[in-house]
């Protein structure tokens, strides 16, 4: 490492109180709005010192150059709806909010492509696209989420079954690295294999590789009609029934394989007891007929109810999003979903499970008052049960006294490679250090 450019003094850690005014002045010099951080700005419990609101990519780059020269650690944030998710950063001097980066740069409706700044709220974008009869088929839960935040947390909604997730719809990205380098990859065409796809790398990166400032997406025509078919199944005891009562996994498998082509098959369940609700979405000109056609797939569970409205829980992450929520993500190969659900039920905690049944990507919410030992036993017990199935359980959010008792990810074979990527992109460990996993 050479001497920092810009010549500022650099101690062992962040600048002490004495040079805070100098840091503030340098940050203001970037043209971004700067204010002192308040109690609402904490990132997983760690309070930054300042908040910056840049107005364009150039200001983000200037901020990162100041951070580099003064060795300040930065955490990017969008709507701030998921700042309590993930691990606490090892250090955090500056919160970089993207809220002012909220312009839709180009909506090429004839090309079904949109380019936006990363701070654009998902709802605002949806409104503009709807006016042109189009949509970004990423039905993430509403409530102030920004495009950049959705990418950084790799969020997805029910229709992942049909359209994939953020990484499948992203066609171009602009990022600012820890040293202020502005880099782009991809572009604004749906088909493009020139160079590495940095967009994929930044999807799910939680701000640890750099700051996403712009993104381009492929769009879809909004479906002319939508119908939902809802089926209620009895609780887990009956799935093991030798008479062969259809369990959720078999139902989802049948739906996903059927010629009716559902766009989503979701599950809502309050464990450990109680009926399971399974609901499939059909989109397109013949949606109603297709929604009715699946009724004979529902086994002995009677005809499903066909509605023109989604059930109230549709697409909502269980747990409510409060700062003390306990939220996990459970993934298994879809045909093993019953066993995964039983693994949750077996722990005896009042868990709420909801998510994409046909893809078997499920959110599991536990009560905020769950005790540390119970939580640890839940995580290790479910992991033991789903590991042989090829599944995994990840802690998305948990108060610190719970989170510290478990490894949030469980074993990930690619973690050493991810660490090598982090070392190359952010050798000074200034971008949300430690927020995603140890060493990332």
């Amino acid at each position: 490492m050479g001497a920092p450019h810009g010549g500022g003094p650099r101690g062992a850690g962040a600048p002490g109180a004495a040079d805070a005014p100098a840091a503030l002045e340098a940050l203001r010099g970037t043209g971004a709005e700067i204010r002192d951080a308040g109690p609402g700005d904490a990132v997983a419990g760690v309070s930054p010192r300042w908040v910056a609101l840049p107005g364009d990519t150039e200001q983000v780059a200037a901020l990162m150059r100041v951070c580099a020269s003064l060795d300040l650690a930065a955490v990017p944030t969008g709507g701030g709806t998921r700042l309590h998710w993930g691990r606490p950063p090892e250090r955090c001097d500056l919160l970089v909010g993207t809220r002012r980066l909220n312009r839709i740069l180009e909506h090429a409706s004839g090309d079904l492509v949109v380019r936006v700044q990363a701070g654009t709220a998902v709802e605002d974008l949806a409104g503009v696209l709807a006016a042109a009869g189009q949509e970004l088929a990423l039905d993430v839960p509403s409530g102030g989420r920004t495009v950049g935040g959705v990418l950084a947390t790799a969020a997805a909604g029910p229709r992942r079954l049909r359209y994939g997730t953020a990484r499948d719809l992203l066609i171009g990205i602009t990022v600012v690295l820890a040293d202020g380098t502005v880099a782009r990859s991809g572009g604004k065409v749906v088909k493009n294999v020139a160079g590495y796809d940095l967009g994929k790398l930044f999807t799910g990166s939680y701000g640890t590789l750099g700051i996403i400032t712009e993104a381009a997406f492929r769009l879809h025509p909004a479906a002319p009609a939508r119908c939902w078919t809802t089926v209620r199944l009895p609780g887990p005891e009956s799935w093991a029934d030798p008479a062969g009562v259809v369990g959720p996994a078999a139902l989802a498998t049948a739906l996903a394989a059927s010629q009716t082509e559902p766009s989503a098959v979701e599950l809502d369940w309050s464990a450990p007891s109680g009926a399971v609700t399974v609901c499939a979405l059909f989109e397109g000109p013949a949606a109603d007929g297709r929604a009715r056609a699946v009724q004979d797939l529902t086994g002995g569970h009677g005809p499903g109810e066909v509605t023109g409205e989604a059930p109230s829980w549709w697409g909502a992450i269980p747990g409510g999003g409060a700062p003390d929520e306990v939220l996990l993500e459970l993934r298994v190969p879809p045909a093993s979903a019953d066993r995964a659900l039983r693994a949750v039920a077996a722990r005896g905690l009042p868990a709420r499970v909801r998510g994409s049944l046909a893809s078997a990507v499920l959110h599991v919410a536990l009560p905020a008052r769950t005790g540390g030992p119970e939580f640890a036993a839940f995580v290790s017990g479910v992991r033991d049960d789903v590991r042989p199935l090829g599944g995994r359980l990840t802690v998305l959010a948990a108060p610190r006294e719970l989170a510290r008792r478990v490894d949030p990810w469980g074993p990930v074979g690619a973690l050493p490679l991810m660490r090598r990527v982090k070392e190359r992109f952010d050798p000074g460990r200034r971008m949300s250090p430690g927020r995603l996993a140890e060493g990332l």
Partner: protein, 494 residues
């Protein structure tokens, strides 16, 4: 071991030693050093780039592949992976001073898991073999490059290959659920779509063999659609055809495929396979829709109406698989057919926003007239992926250069319109020099960070994709200030 050449060993002796080590870890016959046999691997589908590989190895397992890569590391020799060698950008061009790792002995379908809609295969399995393994169950593997009978899934992953049907279904990257790779330093790692953290799986797909060797692929299987309708529409002009494409997409229809051919491409196809497209057509459009029967019927009626309103003078709808094949026959044969009307040709691959198609095609026409070089256009119209075939006579002095100029100018047009220099054939050696037209130095340096994370020694397919290969150590660990390239003495290279 004695080195007879002195202090700085020439590649020869180093390779000889490496070959002996390789033979010790591979089955008999899996190490090729015979010059005549080596020559059969000297190029891929882009035949004017040639290099005889130093050594060819044919591993049968992941463990053997990892052992090969570790030996390459030990001797510091580069390695290049090769599938079927159908690549069109020189991605599998061997290194004379290195090892070519051919996957032709890793060809097993390891697992078909219907309930989970996936299959696990070795990298040397061909694209079509995957579909054949599951067809009886009403499933298929969606990405369908025209080369699917021969190209390997390992090559598809490396190139992020597409096909005519990727308009609706997406590319290889949207259909790969997990990969087992041998990293450039010889470790075996699984990249899984279900892993939390950075999407290394997504970043690896399309990396053209520069981030390691794929040894196992888990692919998504789709149900075969209930209904397929195929429409052939003939137009007097390419502009009318282009208008129909825009109107179909603008009308909220997402066909499985929309392919277009211009008059010259039609002429070539007629001469080669007698496809009997409507006489006098300036352009033909193939529109294929698939999905639930009720929806497909409605949508194809709409598409037909739109074509007619856009000026189609003849419309044919395939009544069954035989008629569908007849419609596709001309399109499928187009590349090879052009070989019959021209002694030589360049296959170009570029992308423009779909709505820019008419303007860009007119510009290509102008370029063609200006340089006296004929260009036949066959393309994936739905996603703006052009495949201009630039025709020339290689016996005519200067013709190859003019063709090269036209071909390069077409890529400029793509970039000027906000498109890409490659939609599916990859960068390889062929287009590395065009990368700076699309990306800044900072963009390329940032991509290089990923490269260095995976391959700090630069041994995995070096010299491909990036215009100026350089050692990872050359980039300062931390860059500060606005002009690091000037500092590193690289800025004046472009």
């Amino acid at each position: 071991m004695t080195d007879t050449t002195g202090a700085t060993p020439a590649p020869g002796p180093v390779l000889d030693r490496a070959a002996r080590r390789l033979a010790a870890v591979l089955p008999p016959g899996a190490v090729i050093t015979d010059p005549v046999r080596l020559r059969t691997y000297e190029c891929d589908g882009l035949t004017h780039h040639r290099a005889v590989p130093g050594i060819v190895v044919l591993p049968e397992t992941t463990g053997q592949t990892a052992a090969v890569v570790r030996i390459c590391n030990e001797y510091g020799v580069p390695f290049v992976a090769r599938g079927a060698g159908t690549g069109l950008s020189g991605g599998a061009l061997p290194r004379t001073d290195g090892v070519l790792v051919v996957t032709s002995r890793m060809r097993r379908v390891l697992e078909v898991d219907l309930p989970n809609r996936r299959a696990v295969v070795e990298p040397g399995v061909t694209n079509l073999e995957i579909t054949e393994a599951v067809r009886a169950h009403g499933r298929y593997y969606a990405p369908d490059p025209s080369s699917r009978q021969v190209c390997t899934i390992g090559g598809n992953v490396a190139e992020n290959s597409g096909g005519a049907h990727c308009l609706k279904y997406g590319f290889t990257v949207n259909h790969v659920l997990a990969l087992e790779i041998v990293t450039p330093d010889g470790d075996v790692v699984t990249l899984d779509a279900d892993d939390p953290g950075y999407d290394l799986l997504g970043a690896f797909v399309g990396s053209e063999g520069t981030l390691g060797i794929t040894t196992r692929v888990t692919v998504r299987l789709l149900r075969a659609p209930e209904a397929v309708t195929t429409l052939l529409a003939a137009f007097e002009s390419i502009e009318q055809g282009g208008r129909a494409v825009s109107a179909i997409i603008g009308g909220g229809i997402v066909p499985a495929a929309i392919e277009m051919m211009d008059a010259l491409a039609i002429e070539a196809a007629e001469a080669a396979v007698d496809c009997a497209y409507p006489a006098g057509a300036g352009a033909v459009l193939i529109v294929e829709l698939d999905g639930p029967a009720a929806e497909t019927a409605l949508r194809s009626a709409e598409a037909e109406r739109i074509c007619r309103e856009s000026g189609a003078f003849e419309l044919r709808t395939a009544a069954g698989p035989a008629e569908r094949d007849a419609i596709w026959k001309g399109r499928r044969s187009a590349f090879a057919a052009v070989g019959r009307i021209s002694p030589a040709y360049i296959v170009q691959d570029g992308v423009v926003p779909r709505t820019a198609l008419p303007g860009v095609l007119a510009d290509i026409d102008r370029l063609s007239a200006e340089h006296g070089i004929r260009v036949a256009n066959v393309f994936h119209a739905g996603d703006g992926n052009l495949h201009p075939l630039v025709l020339f006579d290689d016996r005519e002095p200067g013709a190859a250069e003019r063709a090269e100029t036209v071909s390069g100018r077409i890529l400029d047009l793509c970039v000027e319109h906000g498109g890409s220099i490659t939609g599916e054939h990859g960068v390889g050696v062929d287009k590395a020099r065009y990368m700076p037209r699309m990306f800044t130095d900072d963009d390329l340096d940032t991509m290089q960070l990923l490269r260095c994370a995976f391959d700090p020694r630069g041994l995995s397919n070096p010299g491909k994709v990036f215009p100026t290969p350089r050692l990872c150590g050359e980039v300062p660990g931390v860059r500060r200030g606005a002009h690091p390239l000037v500092e590193s003495g690289r800025a004046e290279q472009f």
